[in-house]
Each structure stands twice: as structure tokens, then as C-alpha cells.
């Protein structure tokens, strides 16, 4: 049993954690590049559709041209780079914190409240907990159980520096 342990993880444990990291990274990165591929992508509609406790904040963000432009760039590049980092296991710790923060924003902007009806219809049924929150919690799990230093570029970086 002791032999199958890899840096304290069992092999199935390690494989599951890396798979989860790669899958979340994939999701982030494709969300990012699909926005980069669009000529005029903007977070405007998403922000304006905000409901719940922080709606006022997100509406103000959307109505300010500069803030909106910053938000658009942060989203497109943030998603792409966090995704790439998670998939390749590069600076995974920072990427996970950044990912959690970004997801926290998405969740706060459109929380699945009892009264909330959003413009983009969701593909499932959600109350208080939605897939954004679950992805956020999954990133939290990955933060507690890191794998980048075992399977990932972080392994090389750790050796080099």
C-alpha cells in the first residue's frame, strides 16, 4: 500500500485530482478564448443582468466605460490564463486563488435566488447553489490538495528555483 503512495496521495487520488484540475482549467481556458475569438465580446449584458445583493455595484461597473473595458479584458485574459495555468500546472496556487475570486464575482453577480430570473436561461435548476459555486468549491479542494508540483510545470519550476 505504501508503495502506491505518490507524495502522500494514492494513485487514484492523484489521478482524480489532476483530472479535476485539468477539467476546470479546460473550462476556464475555453471560456476565455471563445471570448477572445469574438470581435466585440463584452461583459456588459452579464453585468447589467445582475440581481441580488450586489446588483447595484455590477450595474455601475457596466455603465462606466473605463471600468467596463477593464472588466472585459480581465475576464477574457483572466479566464484564458487561469485556465492555461491550471491545465499545465503552472503557478497553480496563484491560478487557483485567482480562479476562486473570479468565480466569486460571477456567483455574486448572478446568485440563484428564489426570485431571480436571468436573461440567459440556465440549462438546469438551481436554488442558492449553482455550478459556479460548485466549481468554486472544487477549486478550493484543489487548493487544499495541490497537484501542480507533482504533475505539472510547477514540478520543474520547483526543481529549478
Amino acid at each position: 500500500m505504501q508503495n502506491s503512495l505518490t507524495n502522500g496521495y494514492s494513485l487514484p487520488g492523484l489521478v482524480s485530482l489532476v483530472a479535476l484540475r485539468v477539467a476546470i482549467g479546460w473550462h476556464f481556458m475555453y471560456e476565455g478564448i471563445s471570448k477572445l475569438f469574438q470581435d466585440n465580446w463584452t461583459s456588459y449584458a452579464f453585468l447589467m443582468d445582475s440581481q441580488g445583493w450586489f446588483a447595484g455595484f455590477f450595474h455601475r461597473l457596466a455603465s462606466n466605460q473605463t471600468a467596463l473595458a477593464v472588466s472585459d479584458q480581465l475576464n477574457m485574459w483572466g479566464l484564458t490564463l487561469i485556465g492555461l495555468a491550471l491545465m499545465t500546472g503552472t503557478f497553480t496556487k496563484v491560478a487557483k486563488i485567482a480562479g476562486i475570486l473570479l468565480l466569486l464575482f460571477y456567483f455574486a453577480a448572478q446568485p440563484p435566488l428564489i426570485m431571480a430570473e436571468y436573461m440567459f436561461p440556465s440549462e438546469g435548476s438551481y436554488l442558492w447553489v449553482n455550478k459556479t459555486l460548485i466549481e468554486l468549491l472544487a477549486l478550493a479542494v484543489l487548493f487544499v490538495f495541490p497537484t501542480g508540483h507533482i504533475i505539472g510545470i510547477d514540478r520543474l519550476l520547483k526543481k529549478l528555483y
Binding site: 471563445s34 449584458a45 447589467m48 443582468d49 500546472g89 436573461m119 514540478r155 526543481k159
Partner: protein, 529 residues
Amino acid sequence: MDNKNSNKDNSKKEGIGRRDVLKSLATLPFVGALLYGAFRKKSLQHYRQHQLLKELNLDSISEPRPFTPVATGDKGLLRIGIIGFGIRGQQLARSAGFADPELIDSWAEAAAVNRADERLQVYLDQEDLNIRITAVCDIFSVHAQRGLDASANLYRTGVGGQKDKPAKFYAHYRDLLKADDIDAVIIATPDHWHAEMTIEAARAGKHIYLEKPLSLTVAETHAVEHAVRENNIVFQLGHQNRQIESHLKAKEIIGKNILGKITKIECYTNRNSPNGAWVYDIHPEASPKTIDWQQFIGPAPDHPFSLERFFRWRCWWDYSTGLTGDLFTHEFDAINQVMALGIPHSAVASGGVYYFKDGRTVPDILQVSYEYPERDLNLLYSASLASSKQRSKTFFGHDASMELSANMTVYADRDSTRYRKQIDAGIIRPDTPLLTHVPGREGVDVVTSATEQYFASRGLLYTYRGGRRVDTTFLHIKEWLDAVRGSGKPSCDIQEGVEEAISAHMGTQAYRLEKKVFWDKDKKEIVTS
């Protein structure tokens, strides 16, 4: 213990092994797979967005019209007289740059409470049209005073702010038309006054911006046309929708035959409020003392003083053209702009007063069906003042249909002959828009996103020019003033006005006579057989 230490030293000494490199790069193939998939998907989208546009001959669709600067200096300065300073007169003056100071204050208050409320900023950013309002005529003293206050508001300030000299007040429009210090007039009076005032203004050599509709009757329509053409003045009918970018795009798309043969067009009025049904507020200071009732009646049948009739004149045939003249004209003018329909061959109509049983004579529910046999086309107007269920102008073609408002959306028809191959190949989907145009975007897009739908549903009042939000009424007045200064032509000139007026009157006649009516091209009359 020693053993362990020596192991550690060994691994450091070994540096980066083959194993380390493999484990470090183990997940890279996934990045490769993602990028491969993403670019494959992107190229399919690119094909839809560009190649398809090329195949549809839409890759060279025009850019938004450039915004031309206003002629500045005393040479370009135009002196304007406003006849009628009610709801619409006030809106026109505001769009021309002369807002009521109280309105400025209310916008400033709204902006202070809600930073997203940009009405004041948009207004302050609007170009100066280099005009002065030198004359105001209104027969209700409160409106007249409001007009004078607005005319002095050259600096766009609130109550108590810096002001210019107010305009001269005229109790009667005939005296206003005699004044030498007026180059052009804006007429925003009840419909029954439009023809007479326009004819007299044209004879006085004043350029005219006239609120729609052009006239109350066919005879008036001819007289107005004659006066405008004879006196060689610059005329613009107040259809600000002429300035909506999506209408220009729609015209190009239909010109390129994207819809195939169009045999049916439907247009609508969907309102459901007292204000929308012309039940406007009665001003508390209104009385026979503050209103010149005889001048209000003018060419209409005599009637004892009535506050309802004065403020809600659109509800009576005596002063109004009802749904056809007030609201169908907007729809017709947009369609006429897109398809150059002209005057219909015939019309049938039905409807009634079914909701606002307030003594009005004009219907609140109306359908008019127009035939254009030479174009193989039927135009249906369906109006309700008692339901705001939204319906947009729709052009029904064999290959595609188009919904047109401030936005334009084209859907391919599932049984289209032309798009058969692309529909079968899954490149064109009949259930998603084939083409969209939303205000603020250049050109036309294939395949629409939810984001754009969101913009689309909110871009109703404003159109975009050069990336800025602009009031369409401002653009329409500007176009007229540019033409007065010798640059360009008004887009809603007398010809368009006549076509629209006759079409509206045919609908009204068909409804009132309860008969099918025809347009006699030779006699230039509406006939019943």
C-alpha cells in the same frame, strides 16, 4: 537517517530527470487538444460569419452614415419660429438644443440619484445646431411661457442658470409668419391645422419642419404639396425614424434580395396606457381665459369650449387622423423607406372603440389591409391601444422573413428554395437569426449572441452614429437644417409625405365609410369603386 540524507542529496545532484520532465509536461496534450478544437470551432464560425456573408453578397454592406459637422458662425446661423409648444413642440425644441430649464433640473436630479441615468450628459454632449429660436406661438398661455423659457435656454442650464434673450411671443401664427427675423418654422400643432399653416408658411418663404401627419384630407394633401413645390422651400416631415440605422440596413438587405419574393408585410401599434391612447393630462391652469379656443377650432367644425378636446384632440376626427395618421404613418414611413411602396391600390379596414369609451370618435382597435397588385404585395396594419403585447414590423419573403424595429433580424424560411442547401447542411438554421443588426454595430452580423439580443431589446430610443448615442429627432432636425444651409436633402420630403398621407387617409376612409376604397391615379382621389 544517513541513508535518507544521502538520498536527498542524490536527488538534488541528479537535477531534472527524464521522469520529472514527463510528469511536468503530462497534461500538455490536453492543452493541444483544446487549442485544436477551439480553432476548428472558430473556423466554422468564421465561415458562417464571413463566407456566408460573401455568398449572400452582404460582405460589402455599408458603414453607418458619417456624422457631418454643423455650419458654425453667423453665416450658418438660422432663426427658427416654433408654432405649437405642446408635448411634441417641447420635445422638438429640446432635440434642437433648447430644453425647458425645469427639465434640465429634473435630469440633473435623476443623474444625482442614479449615476446610470445619462440623459443630461447625452443632452449636454449633443452638438450645437447653430440656431436661435426667435419666435414662439402657442394658444395656451402656459405652453407659450414654457416655449419662451426654452427659447432663452441657449446655454442648456437649469432654472436660475445663465440665459439668452427669449424669443418673441406671437398670439397668432399668421403674425409669426410675417416676421422677417425667421428663416424657418417648426410646426407641431394639432393635425387639423397642419395643412393651412404649412401652406401659409411656404407662401411666406419659410422653410418647414412639419410634424406628421401632413394633412387631414386628400384635398389638403394636394394643396400642401402644391404650396411646398411652388415656393421652393426646404421641407421635412417629422418622421425621425428615417434616421434609424437599421432601416437603412433593411433597405440594403431587401435590395440584395435576401428575403426572396416579398408578398406580405405586417406592421403594428401596440399600446396599453391612457397616455398611449392620447388621454393626456389636463393642465390645472387651463381655462377659456388661458386658451384661445377660437384659434384652436380654426378650420374644424365649431364646438363649445372643451378641455378634453383641447388636450386630447387626437381622440376626435374633427382635429385628428386617429390611428392611421398618428401611428400607422410611422410604420408606413419606415416600410416606404425600405421598399419604396408608394400609394396603395386599395384598402379595407375594420375596428372600433372597444376599450377607451370616453366619448372619442376615433377607433382604439383597427386593422387596415392595403393591396399593391403591381408589386404582388399586401400590407396589413394591426393596431391596439389596449394591449402592449409587442409585435415588430415583419416582412414575409419566400426565402426569409425580417423583423424590423431599432434592430433588424432576418430568419431564413425553413421551406426556402434559395437556402435549401445551406439549411440541409446545417449552416443556416431557420430557428436562429440568419442576420442581425443592432444599433452601434457596424455592418450586419450572421448568427446572433445572447449579448446582442440584450442590446437589441434595449436600443429603442436612440440610434448610434460614430459610436455615440444620438437622439433620432436631433438627427432629423439636423438633416433639415443642413438642407436649409444647402447641404444634402431631407429624407422625408414632400413626396414621401404625400405618399404617407394618402395611405393614411385611405385607411381612415375605408374605416369610416365601411367600404373598400381605391386610389384613382388619374383623378388623384380616393374612390369607392
